[in-house]
Protein backbone atom coordinates (compact mmCIF):
# COMPACT_ATOMS: atom_id res chain seq x y z
CA UNK A 1 0.00 0.00 0.00
CA UNK A 2 1.34 3.42 -0.94
CA UNK A 3 0.41 6.37 1.20
CA UNK A 4 1.37 9.99 1.67
CA UNK A 5 2.28 11.43 5.04
CA UNK A 6 5.83 12.35 4.15
CA UNK A 7 7.55 15.69 3.64
CA UNK A 8 6.11 17.80 0.82
CA UNK A 9 7.82 17.82 -2.59
CA UNK A 10 10.60 20.31 -2.91
CA UNK A 11 12.91 21.57 -5.60
CA UNK A 12 16.28 19.94 -5.94
CA UNK A 13 19.11 22.11 -7.16
CA UNK A 14 18.39 24.56 -9.96
CA UNK A 15 15.90 22.42 -11.92
CA UNK A 16 15.30 19.10 -10.17
CA UNK A 17 12.66 17.98 -7.72
CA UNK A 18 12.33 15.51 -4.85
CA UNK A 19 9.38 14.01 -3.03
CA UNK A 20 8.76 11.29 -0.42
CA UNK A 21 6.02 8.79 0.24
CA UNK A 22 5.35 5.82 2.49
CA UNK A 23 5.33 2.33 0.99
CA UNK A 24 6.63 -1.18 1.68
CA UNK A 25 6.81 -0.35 5.37
CA UNK A 26 9.35 2.38 4.85
CA UNK A 27 9.94 5.81 3.38
CA UNK A 28 10.49 6.03 -0.35
CA UNK A 29 12.34 8.97 -1.86
CA UNK A 30 12.00 10.02 -5.47
CA UNK A 31 14.29 12.59 -7.08
CA UNK A 32 14.35 13.73 -10.69
CA UNK A 33 16.70 16.11 -12.40
CA UNK A 34 13.85 17.93 -14.18
CA UNK A 35 11.24 19.26 -11.82
CA UNK A 36 8.50 19.36 -14.46
CA UNK A 37 8.61 15.55 -14.70
CA UNK A 38 8.14 15.00 -10.97
CA UNK A 39 4.36 14.41 -11.07
CA UNK A 40 4.57 11.85 -13.88
CA UNK A 41 7.53 10.18 -12.20
CA UNK A 42 5.62 9.93 -8.93
CA UNK A 43 2.69 8.25 -10.69
CA UNK A 44 5.04 5.67 -12.17
CA UNK A 45 6.71 5.10 -8.82
CA UNK A 46 3.38 4.61 -7.02
CA UNK A 47 2.31 2.15 -9.68
CA UNK A 48 5.48 0.08 -9.32
CA UNK A 49 5.41 0.11 -5.52
CA UNK A 50 1.76 -0.86 -5.40
CA UNK A 51 2.35 -3.70 -7.85
CA UNK A 52 5.30 -5.12 -5.95
CA UNK A 53 3.39 -4.84 -2.68
CA UNK A 54 0.37 -6.72 -4.09
CA UNK A 55 2.62 -9.42 -5.54
CA UNK A 56 5.23 -9.98 -2.85
CA UNK A 57 4.17 -8.66 0.55
CA UNK A 58 4.20 -11.29 3.28
CA UNK A 59 2.18 -8.95 5.48
CA UNK A 60 -0.90 -8.75 3.24
CA UNK A 61 -3.21 -11.73 3.26
CA UNK A 62 -4.39 -10.74 -0.23
CA UNK A 63 -0.91 -10.60 -1.76
CA UNK A 64 -0.21 -13.03 -4.56
CA UNK A 65 2.67 -14.75 -2.79
CA UNK A 66 0.22 -16.40 -0.40
CA UNK A 67 -1.24 -18.38 -3.28
CA UNK A 68 2.03 -20.35 -3.40
CA UNK A 69 1.36 -21.87 0.01
CA UNK A 70 -1.91 -23.50 -0.96
CA UNK A 71 -1.24 -27.17 -1.60
CA UNK A 72 2.39 -27.58 -2.45
CA UNK A 73 1.43 -27.69 -6.12
CA UNK A 74 2.67 -25.70 -9.09
CA UNK A 75 0.90 -22.34 -9.25
CA UNK A 76 0.80 -20.06 -12.27
CA UNK A 77 1.84 -16.57 -11.19
CA UNK A 78 1.90 -13.03 -12.55
CA UNK A 79 4.91 -11.89 -14.56
CA UNK A 80 5.94 -9.61 -11.68
CA UNK A 81 5.90 -12.29 -8.99
CA UNK A 82 7.69 -14.62 -11.37
CA UNK A 83 10.35 -11.98 -11.94
CA UNK A 84 10.65 -11.30 -8.20
CA UNK A 85 11.17 -15.00 -7.43
CA UNK A 86 13.66 -15.41 -10.28
CA UNK A 87 15.59 -12.40 -8.97
CA UNK A 88 15.53 -13.79 -5.42
CA UNK A 89 16.81 -17.18 -6.56
CA UNK A 90 19.48 -15.57 -8.72
CA UNK A 91 20.64 -13.55 -5.73
CA UNK A 92 20.66 -16.69 -3.59
CA UNK A 93 22.84 -18.43 -6.14
CA UNK A 94 25.15 -15.45 -6.61
CA UNK A 95 25.68 -15.04 -2.87
CA UNK A 96 26.31 -18.71 -2.28
CA UNK A 97 23.05 -18.98 -0.37
CA UNK A 98 23.80 -16.15 2.06
CA UNK A 99 20.68 -14.30 0.90
CA UNK A 100 18.04 -17.00 0.58
CA UNK A 101 14.32 -16.33 0.04
CA UNK A 102 13.30 -19.55 1.81
CA UNK A 103 13.94 -17.95 5.23
CA UNK A 104 10.27 -16.94 5.36
CA UNK A 105 9.23 -19.20 8.24
CA UNK A 106 12.51 -18.59 10.07
CA UNK A 107 11.87 -14.83 10.06
CA UNK A 108 8.34 -15.39 11.29
CA UNK A 109 9.56 -17.73 14.04
CA UNK A 110 11.88 -14.98 15.27
CA UNK A 111 8.87 -12.72 15.72
CA UNK A 112 8.98 -10.61 12.54
CA UNK A 113 5.63 -11.86 11.29
CA UNK A 114 3.85 -8.59 10.57
CA UNK A 115 4.59 -5.08 9.39
CA UNK A 116 7.54 -3.98 11.48
CA UNK A 117 5.61 -1.12 13.05
CA UNK A 118 3.34 -3.75 14.62
CA UNK A 119 6.11 -6.05 15.88
CA UNK A 120 6.33 -5.90 19.68
CA UNK A 121 9.64 -4.43 20.76
CA UNK A 122 9.80 -6.73 23.77
CA UNK A 123 8.52 -10.27 24.21
CA UNK A 124 9.11 -13.60 25.92
CA UNK A 125 11.81 -15.99 24.83
CA UNK A 126 11.22 -17.86 21.58
CA UNK A 127 9.26 -21.11 21.87
CA UNK A 128 11.48 -23.05 19.53
CA UNK A 129 15.13 -23.01 18.56
CA UNK A 130 15.83 -21.44 15.15
CA UNK A 131 16.18 -23.90 12.30
CA UNK A 132 18.05 -23.57 9.02
CA UNK A 133 16.17 -22.44 5.93
CA UNK A 134 15.07 -25.23 3.58
CA UNK A 135 17.26 -23.77 0.85
CA UNK A 136 16.58 -21.85 -2.33
CA UNK A 137 17.17 -24.91 -4.51
CA UNK A 138 13.90 -26.48 -3.34
CA UNK A 139 11.88 -23.85 -5.21
CA UNK A 140 10.70 -25.25 -8.51
CA UNK A 141 10.25 -22.85 -11.40
CA UNK A 142 8.83 -23.51 -14.81
CA UNK A 143 9.69 -20.47 -16.90
CA UNK A 144 7.66 -21.47 -19.91
CA UNK A 145 4.47 -22.01 -17.95
CA UNK A 146 5.39 -19.30 -15.43
CA UNK A 147 4.62 -21.59 -12.52
CA UNK A 148 6.20 -21.90 -9.10
CA UNK A 149 5.98 -24.83 -6.76
CA UNK A 150 7.08 -24.74 -3.14
CA UNK A 151 7.37 -27.86 -1.06
CA UNK A 152 4.91 -27.89 1.85
CA UNK A 153 6.22 -25.89 4.79
CA UNK A 154 8.33 -23.50 2.74
CA UNK A 155 7.53 -19.79 2.85
CA UNK A 156 9.36 -17.09 0.93
CA UNK A 157 10.63 -13.79 2.24
CA UNK A 158 11.23 -11.61 -0.81
CA UNK A 159 11.56 -8.49 1.32
CA UNK A 160 15.12 -7.51 0.54
CA UNK A 161 15.31 -8.34 -3.14
CA UNK A 162 11.77 -7.29 -4.06
CA UNK A 163 12.21 -3.85 -2.57
CA UNK A 164 15.43 -3.40 -4.52
CA UNK A 165 13.75 -4.73 -7.64
CA UNK A 166 10.99 -2.17 -7.24
CA UNK A 167 13.59 0.61 -7.01
CA UNK A 168 15.37 -0.63 -10.13
CA UNK A 169 12.16 -1.04 -12.13
CA UNK A 170 10.78 2.33 -11.10
CA UNK A 171 13.98 4.24 -11.80
CA UNK A 172 14.37 2.65 -15.23
CA UNK A 173 10.74 3.24 -16.15
CA UNK A 174 10.81 6.85 -15.00
CA UNK A 175 13.98 7.56 -16.94
CA UNK A 176 12.67 5.96 -20.13
CA UNK A 177 9.19 7.50 -19.89
CA UNK A 178 10.12 11.03 -18.88
CA UNK A 179 13.65 11.36 -20.22
CA UNK A 180 14.64 12.67 -16.83
CA UNK A 181 17.37 11.31 -14.64
CA UNK A 182 15.82 9.57 -11.64
CA UNK A 183 16.80 8.39 -8.19
CA UNK A 184 14.47 6.04 -6.31
CA UNK A 185 15.34 5.15 -2.75
CA UNK A 186 13.19 2.52 -1.06
CA UNK A 187 14.17 2.69 2.58
CA UNK A 188 17.74 3.47 1.68
CA UNK A 189 18.14 0.91 -1.10
CA UNK A 190 18.43 3.18 -4.09
CA UNK A 191 18.61 2.95 -7.84
CA UNK A 192 19.53 5.66 -10.30
CA UNK A 193 18.78 5.73 -14.02
CA UNK A 194 19.01 8.18 -16.89
CA UNK A 195 21.22 11.22 -16.90
CA UNK A 196 22.58 12.12 -13.49
CA UNK A 197 22.78 15.72 -12.35
CA UNK A 198 26.19 17.41 -12.54
CA UNK A 199 28.34 15.84 -9.87
CA UNK A 200 26.01 12.87 -9.45
CA UNK A 201 23.29 12.12 -6.92
CA UNK A 202 24.48 13.00 -3.42
CA UNK A 203 23.57 10.33 -0.87
CA UNK A 204 24.15 10.27 2.87
CA UNK A 205 25.34 6.99 4.37
CA UNK A 206 23.74 6.40 7.77
CA UNK A 207 22.86 3.53 10.06
CA UNK A 208 19.18 4.39 9.85
CA UNK A 209 17.69 5.28 6.48
CA UNK A 210 15.07 7.39 8.25
CA UNK A 211 17.76 9.56 9.78
CA UNK A 212 18.46 13.16 8.80
CA UNK A 213 20.24 13.93 5.55
CA UNK A 214 23.26 15.30 7.39
CA UNK A 215 23.83 12.31 9.65
CA UNK A 216 26.83 10.72 7.95
CA UNK A 217 29.33 10.82 5.14
CA UNK A 218 28.02 11.84 1.72
CA UNK A 219 28.96 10.21 -1.56
CA UNK A 220 27.98 10.92 -5.14
CA UNK A 221 26.40 8.11 -7.14
CA UNK A 222 26.15 8.26 -10.94
CA UNK A 223 24.85 4.90 -12.07
CA UNK A 224 23.50 1.57 -10.85
CA UNK A 225 22.46 1.16 -7.27
CA UNK A 226 23.52 1.67 -3.70
CA UNK A 227 22.21 -0.29 -0.72
CA UNK A 228 22.91 -0.46 2.97
CA UNK A 229 22.17 -3.20 5.48
CA UNK A 230 22.34 -2.81 9.22
CA UNK A 231 22.08 -5.03 12.27
CA UNK A 232 21.18 -2.19 14.62
CA UNK A 233 17.92 -1.01 13.07
CA UNK A 234 14.72 -3.03 12.80
CA UNK A 235 15.59 -4.80 16.02
CA UNK A 236 13.40 -6.32 18.73
CA UNK A 237 13.94 -8.32 21.90
CA UNK A 238 12.72 -11.80 22.81
CA UNK A 239 13.58 -13.13 26.24
CA UNK A 240 16.11 -10.37 26.73
CA UNK A 241 17.93 -11.23 23.51
CA UNK A 242 18.21 -8.67 20.70
CA UNK A 243 17.14 -9.88 17.30
CA UNK A 244 17.31 -8.19 13.92
CA UNK A 245 15.76 -8.76 10.54
CA UNK A 246 18.72 -10.15 8.60
CA UNK A 247 18.54 -13.91 8.98
CA UNK A 248 21.41 -16.28 8.34
CA UNK A 249 19.84 -19.05 6.22
CA UNK A 250 22.33 -21.57 7.61
CA UNK A 251 21.03 -21.14 11.16
CA UNK A 252 17.61 -19.55 10.79
CA UNK A 253 18.68 -17.03 13.42
CA UNK A 254 19.56 -13.34 13.20
CA UNK A 255 22.97 -13.07 11.58
CA UNK A 256 26.00 -12.37 13.74
CA UNK A 257 26.57 -8.70 14.47
CA UNK A 258 30.13 -8.41 13.23
CA UNK A 259 29.12 -5.37 11.16
CA UNK A 260 26.66 -2.74 12.22
CA UNK A 261 26.35 -1.21 8.76
CA UNK A 262 27.44 -2.31 5.29
CA UNK A 263 26.91 -0.09 2.24
CA UNK A 264 27.64 -1.38 -1.26
CA UNK A 265 27.52 0.20 -4.73
CA UNK A 266 26.76 -2.08 -7.66
CA UNK A 267 25.42 -2.18 -11.20
CA UNK A 268 21.85 -2.28 -9.90
CA UNK A 269 19.99 -1.87 -6.65
CA UNK A 270 19.28 -5.62 -6.62
CA UNK A 271 22.99 -6.40 -6.85
CA UNK A 272 23.87 -3.77 -4.24
CA UNK A 273 21.23 -5.09 -1.86
CA UNK A 274 22.34 -8.68 -2.42
CA UNK A 275 25.92 -7.81 -1.59
CA UNK A 276 25.19 -5.63 1.44
CA UNK A 277 22.84 -8.21 2.95
CA UNK A 278 25.22 -11.08 2.20
CA UNK A 279 28.06 -9.12 3.78
CA UNK A 280 26.19 -9.05 7.09
CA UNK A 281 25.76 -12.83 6.90
CA UNK A 282 29.36 -13.41 5.80
CA UNK A 283 30.63 -11.50 8.84
CA UNK A 284 34.39 -11.13 8.93
CA UNK A 285 34.82 -12.75 5.49
CA UNK A 286 32.76 -10.00 3.85
CA UNK A 287 35.61 -7.59 3.30
CA UNK A 288 37.65 -10.01 1.22
CA UNK A 289 34.66 -11.21 -0.75
CA UNK A 290 33.46 -7.73 -1.64
CA UNK A 291 36.98 -6.79 -2.63
CA UNK A 292 37.24 -9.88 -4.84
CA UNK A 293 33.96 -9.00 -6.54
CA UNK A 294 35.19 -5.45 -7.17
CA UNK A 295 32.19 -3.99 -5.38
CA UNK A 296 32.87 -0.59 -3.80
CA UNK A 297 31.76 -0.92 -0.20
CA UNK A 298 31.93 0.71 3.21
CA UNK A 299 31.70 -1.54 6.23
CA UNK A 300 31.31 -0.33 9.81
CA UNK A 301 32.27 -2.77 12.53
CA UNK A 302 30.48 -2.89 15.82
CA UNK A 303 33.33 -1.09 17.52
CA UNK A 304 32.81 1.77 15.04
CA UNK A 305 35.84 1.09 12.85
CA UNK A 306 35.22 1.83 9.18
CA UNK A 307 36.63 -0.28 6.37
CA UNK A 308 36.32 0.70 2.71
CA UNK A 309 37.04 -1.56 -0.26
CA UNK A 310 37.21 -1.52 -4.06
CA UNK A 311 37.32 2.22 -4.53
CA UNK A 312 34.77 3.41 -2.02
CA UNK A 313 36.03 6.81 -0.84
CA UNK A 314 37.37 7.08 2.67
CA UNK A 315 35.28 9.06 5.11
CA UNK A 316 36.43 12.61 4.73
CA UNK A 317 33.25 14.33 3.73
CA UNK A 318 31.10 13.77 6.78
CA UNK A 319 28.71 16.72 6.71
CA UNK A 320 27.93 16.24 10.39
CA UNK A 321 31.47 17.32 11.14
CA UNK A 322 32.34 14.21 13.07
CA UNK A 323 35.77 12.80 12.22
CA UNK A 324 35.99 9.54 10.34
CA UNK A 325 36.34 6.45 12.47
CA UNK A 326 39.72 4.72 12.47
CA UNK A 327 40.34 2.03 9.93
CA UNK A 328 41.91 -1.22 11.02
CA UNK A 329 43.90 -2.19 7.97
CA UNK A 330 44.83 -5.55 9.40
CA UNK A 331 41.43 -7.06 8.69
Amino acid sequence: MVTGGAPAPRRLGPVGGVTHLRALGTTVTLAVDRHRTLAEAEDILRDELDAIDRACSRFRSDSEIWSLYAHGRAVRVSPLLHQAVVVALTVAERTGGAVDPTVGLAVEALGYDRDFAAVAALGPALDTAPTAAPGWWCVELDHRRRTIRLPPGVHLDLGATAKALAADRAAQRIASSTGSGALVSAGGDLAVAGPSPPGGWAVTIAVDSTGPLGSGPVVAVRDGGLASSSTVVRTWHRGGRRLHHIVDPATGDSASEHWRLVSVAAASCVDANAASTAAIVWGERARGRLEAMGLPARLVRHDGAVVTVAGWPTDGTDRSGSPPMPVDASR
Binding site: W136, G188, V219, A220
Partner: protein, 103 residues
Protein backbone atom coordinates in the same frame (compact mmCIF):
# COMPACT_ATOMS: atom_id res chain seq x y z
CA UNK B 1 15.81 -71.79 -50.72
CA UNK B 2 13.83 -73.37 -47.98
CA UNK B 3 12.89 -69.98 -46.69
CA UNK B 4 11.91 -68.79 -50.13
CA UNK B 5 9.77 -71.83 -50.55
CA UNK B 6 8.24 -71.21 -47.15
CA UNK B 7 7.38 -67.57 -47.93
CA UNK B 8 5.93 -68.46 -51.24
CA UNK B 9 3.92 -71.25 -49.76
CA UNK B 10 0.20 -71.23 -50.42
CA UNK B 11 -0.40 -73.51 -47.51
CA UNK B 12 -3.31 -71.89 -45.61
CA UNK B 13 -1.55 -72.53 -42.32
CA UNK B 14 1.55 -70.72 -43.49
CA UNK B 15 -0.47 -67.84 -44.87
CA UNK B 16 -2.33 -67.49 -41.59
CA UNK B 17 0.91 -67.63 -39.64
CA UNK B 18 2.39 -64.94 -41.83
CA UNK B 19 -0.64 -62.72 -41.20
CA UNK B 20 -0.29 -63.22 -37.45
CA UNK B 21 3.38 -62.25 -37.61
CA UNK B 22 2.56 -59.17 -39.64
CA UNK B 23 -0.18 -58.17 -37.19
CA UNK B 24 2.16 -58.71 -34.27
CA UNK B 25 4.77 -56.43 -35.87
CA UNK B 26 2.21 -53.69 -36.41
CA UNK B 27 0.96 -54.08 -32.85
CA UNK B 28 4.47 -53.69 -31.41
CA UNK B 29 5.20 -50.70 -33.61
CA UNK B 30 1.87 -49.08 -32.71
CA UNK B 31 2.32 -49.66 -29.00
CA UNK B 32 5.82 -48.21 -29.07
CA UNK B 33 4.59 -45.14 -30.89
CA UNK B 34 1.71 -44.77 -28.44
CA UNK B 35 4.05 -44.97 -25.45
CA UNK B 36 6.33 -42.33 -26.93
CA UNK B 37 3.41 -40.03 -27.65
CA UNK B 38 1.87 -40.50 -24.19
CA UNK B 39 5.19 -39.90 -22.40
CA UNK B 40 5.74 -36.78 -24.46
CA UNK B 41 2.28 -35.45 -23.72
CA UNK B 42 2.58 -36.14 -19.99
CA UNK B 43 6.01 -34.51 -19.78
CA UNK B 44 4.65 -31.55 -21.68
CA UNK B 45 1.48 -31.13 -19.68
CA UNK B 46 2.64 -31.76 -16.13
CA UNK B 47 4.97 -28.99 -14.94
CA UNK B 48 7.52 -29.54 -12.28
CA UNK B 49 10.99 -30.92 -12.23
CA UNK B 50 11.75 -30.37 -15.82
CA UNK B 51 15.04 -29.23 -17.24
CA UNK B 52 13.33 -26.24 -18.79
CA UNK B 53 13.83 -24.37 -15.52
CA UNK B 54 17.56 -24.57 -15.90
CA UNK B 55 17.74 -23.83 -19.59
CA UNK B 56 15.00 -21.32 -20.19
CA UNK B 57 17.12 -18.27 -19.72
CA UNK B 58 20.72 -17.38 -19.23
CA UNK B 59 19.76 -14.82 -16.62
CA UNK B 60 17.91 -17.19 -14.33
CA UNK B 61 19.32 -19.58 -11.79
CA UNK B 62 19.79 -23.25 -12.51
CA UNK B 63 16.96 -24.23 -10.23
CA UNK B 64 16.85 -27.91 -9.49
CA UNK B 65 15.03 -30.22 -7.18
CA UNK B 66 18.07 -31.66 -5.49
CA UNK B 67 17.78 -32.08 -1.73
CA UNK B 68 21.17 -30.45 -1.35
CA UNK B 69 22.65 -27.26 -2.81
CA UNK B 70 24.73 -27.44 -5.96
CA UNK B 71 28.42 -28.05 -5.25
CA UNK B 72 29.40 -24.63 -6.59
CA UNK B 73 26.31 -22.50 -6.07
CA UNK B 74 27.83 -19.32 -7.42
CA UNK B 75 29.61 -20.94 -10.31
CA UNK B 76 26.80 -20.62 -12.81
CA UNK B 77 25.27 -17.40 -11.59
CA UNK B 78 28.30 -15.18 -11.39
CA UNK B 79 28.33 -12.57 -8.67
CA UNK B 80 26.84 -9.11 -8.16
CA UNK B 81 28.28 -6.71 -10.71
CA UNK B 82 30.11 -3.49 -9.82
CA UNK B 83 28.86 -0.10 -11.00
CA UNK B 84 30.36 1.67 -13.98
CA UNK B 85 31.72 4.34 -11.66
CA UNK B 86 32.40 3.94 -7.96
CA UNK B 87 30.88 6.47 -5.54
CA UNK B 88 32.97 9.58 -5.11
CA UNK B 89 33.26 12.09 -2.30
CA UNK B 90 31.07 15.14 -2.68
CA UNK B 91 30.25 18.34 -0.88
CA UNK B 92 26.80 18.61 -2.46
CA UNK B 93 23.68 18.69 -0.34
CA UNK B 94 22.40 15.10 -0.12
CA UNK B 95 19.17 14.02 -1.77
CA UNK B 96 18.60 10.71 0.01
CA UNK B 97 19.86 8.58 2.88
CA UNK B 98 21.08 5.01 2.44
CA UNK B 99 20.84 3.08 5.66
CA UNK B 100 19.47 -0.02 7.26
CA UNK B 101 15.88 -0.96 6.69
CA UNK B 102 13.77 -3.97 5.89
CA UNK B 103 10.41 -5.06 4.57
Amino acid sequence: MVVYAYRRSRDPRHVAFERVRRAFRWTVAGATTAVIVIVGVVAHEIPGRSTSAATASNTTPAVNASPTPPPTPTGGGGSPSPPVTAPTPTQQAPTAVSGGTGW
